[in-house]
Amino acid sequence: MARIGVFVCHCGSNIAANVDCAAVAAAANQMPGVVYATDYKYMCSEPGQKLIQDTIREHRLDRVVVASCSPRMHEPTFRRAVAAAGVNPYQMEMANLREHCSWVHNDRPLATAKAIEIVGMLVAKVGRDEALRPGRAELTKRLLVIGGGIAGIQAALDVANAGYQVTLVERTPTIGGKMAMLDKTFPTLDCSACILTPLMVDVAQHPNIELRSYSEVEQVQGFVGNFKVTIRQKARYVNHATCTGCGTCWGKCPEKAIPSEFDQGLGKRTSIYIPFPQAIPNKPVIDPDHCRYLGYRSAYEEQVASLGLTGEEAAKYKPVGPDGKKMPPCQICQKMCPTGAIDWTQKDELIEQEFGAIIVANGFDLFMLDGSHEAETGQPVHPYYGEYGYGKYPDVITALQLERLMNASGPTGGEIIRPSDGKHPHSVVFIACVGSRDDKVGRPYCSRICCMYTAKQAIMLKEHAPETDAYVFYMDVRAGGRSYDEFVRRAQEVYGTHYLRGRVSRIYRKGDRYVVMGYDANIGRSVSVETDLVVLANGATSARGSVDLMQTLGISYDQYGFINEAHVKLRPVETNTAGIYLAGCSAGPKDIPDTVAQASAAAAKVCGLFARPYIETEPTVAEVDQRKCVSCHLCEEVCPYSAVTFVTLRDGRLAAQINPAVCKGCGLCVSGCRGRAIFLHGFSDQQLLAEVDSLLAPPLTLRLPELVPVD
């Protein structure tokens, strides 16, 4: 006969406010198999755990029910506690009296009665719990970092410096991310390039880091310690092994007017290009959408096929472009390349690699007023903030565009000029919270960086041209970092930036200037500011394609496409999936210091994981009773983790087999199995039916002690 102990937790007043915990313990004492039951204020605290352990020893308990909160947070805590006192951790059950009872009810007697029933179910189950031991799996000590911004760079360097192998996957042709586009960084006004580019070089030269730029994660399988990842290396049409990055090709490329993504459309690039001079890798790729030869080639193939040309005719055929003229076969880069690195035969390549852990650092994108950031979320794309005239007025620009204009290596060499006429602005209006803290545009959250970068840009503007007037329309100044408020104050008091508290209602053109109409809450009236340039402080949204990536990884994300942390406060760099960590803006907008801190924290978690000799796997997995298996393959079909394989038994029959290292214990195969041949450890039919039985037919008439109301 099992000797069960029941420990009822008050959780401060979280449970005790609506549940009479002493009454629950008293009732539990009468349940079959229970030799001891008690209640305590904080069962998870050190004295609480000690109480459990002392009681186990004193009463020779071999099963434990902890009636407290959801197992999500504290199941590992109590498993460790009972194991230390000699009870098998899988013969400990948690009865959830908090989320499932006290938090959702306010009728104390009824909630107490329900709490007793919940405890009764778990007492019935725990008596039938078998002793389980965790399994072991190999641990591949190689890290995959997704995203080559400052978060990914920092995490990759930290883990690589600890002596582990790292693969860094970056979607664009260069690492560096958004930080590489910035001019200066707040609040110290360090030059962004000066602090970032050396780290980029470190990544490129680190013996433990394999850099995969222009690549994307295509598929992820496996589990912590044993991820199998398929990476798509997009075709660059340049052999990076032989290319020296000399620059002859992009100097000669005739396609020179492609808006540069890196310069936010303000500068131009060629179709064979590096995004910026300090790019890493410092070797070009060819943009297939703009390359003349690749356009020629696909038009040739298409037109030859549609015209049905063959042989010599096909060989002599010259394709015709959309303008009706014969297309040029160009290939100038190939002719000019001194090392013969241009390779037109390249195709996208799928690379399969094994990793023990993954850090997701896919960053963010700007909220765009044309709605283009919604394009991949499946939401309707429509323009926002029509009153600002973005897209209509060339001198209404985004903050990142101004950043490029201010940057010494930007399209204007650091000169701040108006895109419309190239003149220096004498007055600039900044508008904060564009796409932040605004339910109307579906972004109720604060983007956290805009107040600070706006103050920084106002200061930089004054540094460039001290006589320029700067105005900032803001809702609140949120400058809650070290030396942040002082920085904003400096923008106001030392640099004389005019801060107007209120929203902008309209911007319109007046001659070649603009009038910004808004409300100044500090003086309680509408104001108009005539200006030359308007800078919008666009908020941050999740990175383009973020939802697809989260689904590929199988991690949970919120309605805005940001990752949900495993625990907001206590596990801020872990996802809900073991072995997958996060850093930076992938889990919500962050500034550079927070991003770097998170990246290093995630790296520490990975190093902690890699320091183990092997992975312990959960024993609560499914197992096939091969005598009963009729090999119908249904389990194989329903298994989301591909854990089922089929083996030939000695008598020649085929039977299913479940890989315990891959199985997650979801139970789909168990309920799917027609012959009831599959069994889930820790959740057997007997255990679950015992729970149901206890609910339908209470084993004894519980005599409830009189309930004492609180207060």
Partner: protein, 298 residues
């Protein structure tokens, strides 16, 4: 009846009264464009300001009854030239989404209220591609050389989740319409600003200031006239220019047109047919002053 171009038509009180020129030009214009308007029989007030300020159920119920009448026509769309009527109709349709509210509306309206009727402002009908083609084919006079300030007012596009018409802050439908007729559309900040609405009775100075601001912006932008889609806006802008002048808030003589008058004129209708002589601020002759070559496509 050509069902494709036939609409249930709710003129509202203005188009039969203070804005009868809007009503007249609406009917004339639609006739030219082969748009058939079937005026609801025995329609009642849309529940605008007087009702919805006092009793929301009455306001919703009044539209409820009108929607019932519209439903009985068998047509799928009810078209409203007046922006205030449009706002009340859309507001009621929005309220009908909640079953409990719908039940109360039906109680007040005295029977089942259809919730799936399409409710469109007249301006929206003119944006339809097939009407645009007709506009192009039937146009007899170009508005080339006219500088017009398109004025949508505050009710037509907002609140956007209720009105569901055009961009709430930078609408384009009237801009596009006027451009299609050859007019130059000025860029001005007043597009969707408030004219002072129903406040001229209780706080006339406020209306002078707000409407005066609109006139000032339009004049500053170099507009020859303001084109509206709302009887209330028209009334404030057209009839208050004298008061605004006497209050020392600016000396304006800016003609205020309904868009139907401008479109009607382009379609070859005469000023008298369009009620252009009824304005307090003289608008006669402006459209004709720069009468350019008659264009006839095809």
């Amino acid at each position: 009846m050509n069902a494709a171009n036939a609409y249930a038509y709710f003129p509202g009180c203005s188009l039969h009264g203070t804005a009868c020129d809007y009503g007249q030009s609406t009917e004339q214009m639609c006739e030219r464009l082969d748009i058939e308007l079937l005026e609801l029989e025995d329609w009642n007030c849309c529940g605008s300001s007087p009702a919805h300020m006092v009793n929301p159920w009455l306001a919703l119920g009044l539209v409820g009854r009108n929607l019932r009448l519209a439903g009985q026509t068998g047509l799928d769309t009810v078209v409203l030239p007046c922006a205030a009527c449009y706002a009340r109709f859309k507001e009621t349709q929005h309220a009908l989404k909640d079953p409990e509210t719908a039940a109360r509306i039906e109680y007040v309206a005295g029977g089942a209220v259809p919730s799936d009727l399409k409710i469109e402002p007249l301006l929206g009908v003119l944006g339809k591609p097939e009407i645009r083609v007709k506009l192009h084919d039937y146009q007899q006079r170009s508005l080339d050389g006219l500088k017009l300030a398109p004025y949508y007012g505050c009710l037509l596009t907002r609140p956007s989740e209720v009105a569901q018409f055009d961009d709430p802050e930078d609408p384009q439908s009237l801009d596009e319409l006027l451009k299609a007729l050859g007019a130059e559309v000025v860029s001005w900040p007043g597009k969707v600003s408030c004219c002072g609405a129903s406040l001229p009775i209780s706080r006339p100075e406020l209306v002078w200031r707000m409407s005066g601001q609109l006139l000032a912006w339009a004049a500053e932008a170099g507009a020859d006239a303001i084109v509206t889609a709302c009887p209330m806006c028209h009334s404030n802008l057209d009839t208050r220019q004298g008061q605004i002048r006497r209050a020392g808030l600016g000396d304006y003589h800016l003609p205020i047109f309904y868009f139907t008058q401008v479109v009607g004129y382009a379609l070859g209708l005469d000023e008298s047919q369009l009620g252009i002589g009824r304005h307090l601020t003289n608008a006669k002759g402006l459209l004709g002053r720069r009468r350019p070559v008659v264009t006839q496509a095809g």
